[in-house]
Symmetry: C2
Subunit: 148 residues, 2 copies
């Protein structure tokens, strides 16, 4: 374990390691947005994401929220429960299948959505402002490929 250590053990350079870099970047970005609504509305990131899905696809079941969001089944169940509890989401039961829920934002839910959504978009723009047009295009293309 002397001079040779470094070469023989070939340690990772964490600062250059893609998974690590993604993790830092993702955390930084998501946290800065979440800070915006978590305290003001007592709204967790998962809850907010469920609200976004319901804003775009009203009257869907919890299952469909999971499918459309890659979120965890349990996380969604809990988020929905809290949103219903807080009067931000209305939950009904599907007519033809009593297991399925039918979810949609309530008035109160929409009010929060309409306040938070523009600010989320602003945050995204702040991040993207660091890139020029070329870079933005490449980033989108690269993310598409990596997530395929």
């Amino acid at each position: 374990m002397s001079t040779e250590t470094i070469t023989s053990h070939a340690p990772l350079d964490l600062e250059r390691f893609l998974p690590y870099r993604l993790s830092i970047l993702s955390n930084t970005v998501s946290q800065s947005i979440a800070a915006d609504y978590q305290d003001r509305f007592e709204l967790s990131m998962t809850e907010w994401r469920v609200m976004v899905i319901l804003a775009r696809f009203p009257e869907i079941s919890a299952r469909e929220v999971v499918d459309r969001s890659r979120m965890d089944k349990v996380a969604v169940s809990r988020a929905v429960a809290r949103l219903v509890e807080a009067g931000r989401v209305d939950r009904g039961i599907h007519g033809e299948d009593k297991r399925r829920s039918v979810l949609k934002l309530s008035e109160a839910g929409w009010a929060i959505h309409d306040e938070v959504a523009p600010r989320a978009r602003e945050h995204e723009q702040e991040v993207l402002a660091k890139l020029d047009e070329d870079e933005k295009a490449w980033l989108n293309r690269i993310l598409d490929k990596l997530m395929a």
Copy 2:
């Protein structure tokens, strides 16, 4: 709340929303690597990251691990405690400042490191294999800018 709903409320398209995409991608990538060592070595992601830092910078304090890793102080403290407990890290006390720890991987720690590190690199390569050379170069450049 009828046809006009969608346009007037302007919901986010989560699938195209950068913070969300980063979060999904980051989770997918990190999880696939973590799956590799978590069960085999009962090693958490935080612990693994601490080990990587110590592989590259032996004999540093917990504080320096925090500085070099952007990890949380508390997370590092706990990870180090568990690593020492498991005999994977040796902890000493700094000669001139009794508050400071002096950390380095033990033999057992190095053994794990040397087994996991190449596999982590392989995983990174698998992800990057989806991109051509141009895209890889742009990705690096873009990440540098976004994280600056």
